[in-house]
C-alpha cells in the first residue's frame, strides 16, 4: 500500500518517531481546521509542525460537499442556477451567468447585445465584490482589520445593485435563459453610477494602506510562492495563475458575452507569491471598473432577453389572458423544453479562476451529466506544496490569498 493512502496521523507518527530517534527533536501535529477562523469555511489541514515551521501538510475536503453535480442530474436547467450560487458565493452572478451561457451554447441561443452588456456589467461587479473580500480578508489575516471594514461597505453597495436587478443579495439566482428576467430599473443604473463615483477613491485608500506597508510586504512577499510551470501543471487559472506571470484570461482567450468589445489590461505578477496575488487582484478591480464604465457608455438599446418563447417565460399578463402563453409557461416551469443531444464546455473567468461547466445532454429535461470545473478545488491541492517549509502565519496568508472558498471547493 502506498504511503500516501495512510491517514496523515499515522503517516506523521512515523516521521515524528524517526525524527525523535535521529536528533531528539519533537515534531507535532496541528489541526488547522475544520473550524478555524482563518480557513474561511470548513476544510481541514493536518499540518506536521516543527515548532512554527510547517514540515508537511495534508488537506481534507468534503466537509460541505452537497453533491451538486449529482443533484443537477435530476433538475431541469433553470433549477440548476441556485446550485451555482452556492459554489463561489462571493461572486454568485458570475456563476449564474456562466451557467446560462453554457445552456445557451448547448441550445444555440443568440443573446441580444444589450443583455450581453448587462451581463458583463454584473459579472464585473461580482468580480469586484470577490476581490474586495479576498484582498481585505488577507489584510485581516495578517492583522489589519481596518481596511476590511473600510471597503466592505462597498460590497454592500454592490449587493444593493444586485438587489435592484434580481431581488437577491448573496445567492442571487440572477438572469434567465437568454437574458434577464426584467430590464434593469433606472434605480439600478443610478446606484451603479454612484458606486462608480464613490468606490475608486476608497479602493485607492485601501491600496495605499497596505501595498507599500513595510510590515504587510514582509508578511506577504515570498510567502506561499508558486512558479509558473508548477502553477500550470496544477491547473491554476485566474488571478493566482496571473500572479505567477502567465497572462491567461478567459475573457481574452475565449471571449464570451461580448468581452471582445472592451479594452482592458490583464495584470500579471512575477513570482506568484501572496503579495503578487494581492497586487494582481488590486489591479483587476481597476480593470473591472473600466470595463463597467465602457459597457455603460456603449450600452445599446433593445431587448434585454433573446426571443426564444420555448425557453423564456412569457410576461405574466400574457400568461393570465392568453392560452399559448399559459402553455409555454407551464412547460417551461415543468422543465419540458426541447433539448438537443449535445455536449458543451463553456468557461467564464470567475472571481478566482476559470469556472467551467461541462454539460452533456441526452435530450431529456435534465442534464445527463454536468461537471463544474471549480478553480478552488484545484488551488487547494497545491496549498500543501506551497506552504511546505514556511511558517504557520505564512500558511494562513497563503490560504487567504489563494481565495479558497469552501462552497466552491466542495461543491
Amino acid at each position: 500500500m502506498s504511503d500516501l493512502l495512510l491517514p496523515p496521523e499515522l503517516r506523521y507518527a512515523e516521521i515524528i518517531e524517526a525524527r525523535k530517534n535521529e536528533d531528539g527533536s519533537e515534531l507535532s501535529i496541528l489541526n488547522l481546521g475544520p473550524t478555524h477562523p482563518a480557513t474561511h469555511g470548513i476544510f481541514q489541514n493536518i499540518l506536521l509542525m516543527d515548532g512554527e515551521r510547517i514540515i508537511d501538510g495534508e488537506g481534507t475536503v468534503g466537509y460541505i460537499h452537497r453533491a451538486f453535480e449529482k443533484i443537477a442530474e435530476n433538475r431541469p436547467f433553470y433549477q440548476i442556477t441556485p446550485l451555482t450560487d452556492r459554489m463561489n458565493y462571493c461572486s454568485a452572478p458570475i456563476n449564474n451567468m456562466g451557467w446560462w451561457m453554457t445552456v445557451e451554447k448547448a441550445l444555440g441561443i443568440e443573446v441580444p447585445k444589450r443583455a450581453q452588456y448587462l451581463r458583463v456589467i454584473v459579472m464585473e461587479l461580482a468580480r469586484i465584490a470577490d476581490h474586495i473580500i479576498c484582498n481585505s480578508v488577507l489584510g485581516v489575516d495578517t492583522g489589519a482589520l481596518t481596511g476590511f471594514l473600510y471597503v466592505f461597505q462597498y460590497r454592500e453597495k454592490i449587493y444593493e445593485i444586485y438587489e435592484e436587478i434580481c431581488g437577491a443579495r448573496l445567492t442571487t439566482n440572477m438572469g434567465r435563459l437568454g437574458g434577464f428576467e426584467r430590464d434593469w430599473s433606472p434605480l439600478a443604473f443610478e446606484k451603479l453610477n454612484q458606486l462608480l463615483e464613490e468606490f475608486p477613491p476608497i479602493w485607492k485608500d485601501f491600496e495605499d494602506l497596505l501595498t507599500r506597508n513595510r510590515i504587510f510586504m514582509d508578511r506577504t512577499i515570498d510567502v506561499g510562492p508558486i512558479s509558473a510551470e508548477k502553477a500550470i501543471s496544477y491547473g491554476f487559472t485566474g488571478p493566482n495563475l496571473r500572479a505567477a506571470g502567465i497572462d491567461y484570461d478567459i475573457r481574452v482567450m475565449q471571449p464570451y458575452s461580448s468581452y471582445e468589445d472592451f479594452e482592458f489590461n490583464i495584470p500579471v505578477g512575477q513570482s506568484g507569491d501572496t503579495y503578487d496575488r494581492f497586487c494582481v487582484r488590486n489591479a483587476e478591480v481597476w480593470e473591472s471598473l473600466s470595463i463597467i464604465k465602457q459597457a455603460l457608455a456603449k450600452l445599446p438599446e433593445g431587448p434585454y432577453h433573446a426571443d426564444v418563447p420555448d425557453y423564456y417565460l412569457p410576461p405574466k399578463d400574457e400568461v393570465y389572458h392568453n392560452m399559448e402563453a399559459l402553455i409555454y409557461h407551464f412547460k417551461i416551469v415543468m422543465g419540458e423544453v426541447p433539448v438537443p443531444v449535445t455536449e458543451v464546455y463553456h468557461a467564464v473567468e470567475g472571481g478566482n479562476g476559470e469556472l467551467g461547466f461541462y454539460l452533456t445532454t441526452d435530450g431529456s429535461r435534465t442534464p445527463y451529466r454536468l461537471h463544474f470545473r471549480r478553480p478552488c478545488f484545484i488551488y487547494y491541492q497545491a496549498f500543501n506544496d506551497m506552504v511546505k517549509g514556511q511558517m504557520l502565519s505564512d500558511a494562513i496568508a497563503t490560504l487567504s490569498s489563494l481565495n479558497v472558498i469552501a462552497g466552491e471547493l466542495d461543491a
Partner: protein, 347 residues
C-alpha cells in the same frame, strides 16, 4: 507611625488603584470607539449616553458567563494564569509620580503612592513577571494553539526586554538616578528627555508595544492563526482578566513613556503657576498634563493597532535582536560620548 501618613498613603493607594482600574475599563471603551472612528463606524452607543456604560455592561456580561474549565491536568495553574497577569498589571502603578506635591492642611503630600529609589528597576521587574501569567495560563490550557502562543509570548517578551533595558541605560546615564520622582523633577519646563534621547525613546516605544502585546506585536493572541492564543480556552471573567490586564498594562506603559520621556507632570510655565496660583493648583494642572500625555499614548497604541498588520514570528525576532538591540547599544555609546563632551572630558 504617624496616623496622618497612614491615612495619606491609604488614600493615595486607593486613588491610584481606582485610577488604574477606571482607566483600564474605559480604555476598552476607548479602543472600541477609536476603532469605530478609524473604520468609519459608530461604535458602541447603546449602554448609557454615547456608550458610556459599555465597560460596565461588558463586565456584567463576562461575570454572568459560564466559567468553562477545559480538560487539563493543571486546573490550579489554569486559574492562576489570569490572576498573575491581573495582579502584575495593577502593581506597577505604585511608583508612578502623578504630580510633584500638594499642600493639604499644612502637610506636604507627595503625589506618589511610594517613592522608592529603584522605582525604574521595580517597574521592569514587575513588567517582566507579566509574561508568567500568559505562559502559565496558556500552558495549563492544554491546547496546541495556546502553547504556541505561550512560546511566542515568552520569547518576544524576553527579547524585547533586553532592548528596552538597553534603551533605558542611555537615559539613566543622563539622569543619574533610578527614582522616577527625580527623573520627573529633572524634566521641569520643557527639558523633556525625548529631546535629548530621541533614539532611546523610539526604541522604548517599540519595545513597549511588544511588552504590552499590542499590534504589531500581538503575535501571542493573533486571532487569525492562533484563535486568540493564550486565551483560547478561557471564558467568563478569567478571559476578562486577561483582557483587562492588557489594558491596564497599556495604561501603565503609556504613563511610563510620559514620565520617562515626556516630562511627566511638567508643563511649560509650571514655575510661574506655582508662584502665582499656588502649589496645589499648579500640581493639579500638572496631574492633568500627565493625564493628557498618557491619554495621547493610549490613543497612539490604538491608532497603531487599527492601522498596521502584525509581524511574523521570525521577523519579530529579527527586529528585536538584529536591529533594536544594536541600535540601543549604539545609542548608549553616542550618549556616553555626548555626556563626556559636554563635561569637557572628551580627549
Amino acid at each position: 507611625m504617624d496616623t496622618a501618613i497612614i491615612i495619606e498613603k491609604s488614600v493615595l493607594i486607593v486613588a491610584v488603584f481606582a485610577l488604574t482600574m477606571l482607566m483600564a475599563m474605559y480604555a476598552t471603551l476607548a479602543e472600541r470607539k477609536v476603532a469605530a472612528w478609524l473604520q468609519d463606524r459608530i461604535g458602541p452607543n447603546r449602554a448609557g449616553k454615547g456608550g458610556i456604560l459599555q465597560p460596565l455592561a461588558d463586565g456584567l456580561k463576562l461575570f454572568s458567563k459560564e466559567e468553562f474549565l477545559p480538560d487539563t491536568p493543571n486546573k490550579f495553574l489554569f486559574v492562576a494564569g489570569p490572576a498573575i497577569s491581573m495582579s502584575v498589571a495593577l502593581m506597577t502603578s505604585a511608583v508612578i509620580p502623578w504630580g510633584d506635591k500638594l499642600e493639604i492642611a499644612g502637610r506636604t503630600v507627595i503625589m506618589q503612592a511610594t517613592d522608592i529609589d529603584v522605582a525604574l528597576l521595580y517597574v521592569f521587574g514587575v513588567l517582566s513577571v507579566g509574561v508568567y501569567g500568559i505562559m502559565i495560563g496558556a500552558w495549563a490550557s492544554n491546547n496546541k494553539f495556546s502553547l504556541m502562543s505561550a512560546m511566542r509570548a515568552s520569547s518576544q517578551m524576553i527579547s524585547y526586554e533586553v532592548a528596552m533595558g538597553l534603551s533605558i541605560i542611555a537615559l539613566l546615564m543622563m539622569t543619574g538616578t533610578l527614582s522616577l520622582r527625580e527623573i520627573a523633577a529633572q524634566q521641569s519646563g520643557m527639558n523633556w528627555n525625548v529631546f535629548y534621547q530621541p533614539v532611546g525613546f523610539l526604541i522604548f516605544l517599540v519595545c513597549s508595544f511588544a511588552e504590552t502585546n499590542r499590534t504589531p506585536f500581538d503575535l501571542a493572541e493573533c486571532e487569525a492563526e492562533l484563535i486568540g492564543g493564550y486565551h483560547t480556552e478561557y471564558s467568563s471573567m478569567r478571559m476578562g482578566f486577561y483582557l483587562f490586564a492588557e489594558y491596564a498594562s497599556m495604561f501603565i506603559s503609556s504613563t511610563i513613556l510620559a514620565v520617562l520621556y515626556f516630562g511627566a507632570y511638567n508643563y511649560p510655565g509650571m514655575q510661574w503657576a506655582v508662584e502665582n496660583w499656588g502649589v496645589n493648583v499648579a500640581n493639579i494642572i500638572g496631574f492633568l498634563a500627565l493625564f493628557a500625555k498618557l491619554c495621547f499614548f493610549i490613543f497612539f497604541y490604538m491608532w497603531v493597532r487599527w492601522t498596521i498588520p502584525r509581524f511574523r514570528y521570525d521577523q519579530l525576532m529579527r527586529l528585536g535582536w538584529q536591529m533594536l538591540i544594536p541600535l540601543a547599544i549604539a545609542n548608549i555609546f553616542v550618549t556616553a560620548i555626548c555626556i563626556l563632551w559636554s563635561d569637557g572630558n572628551l580627549f
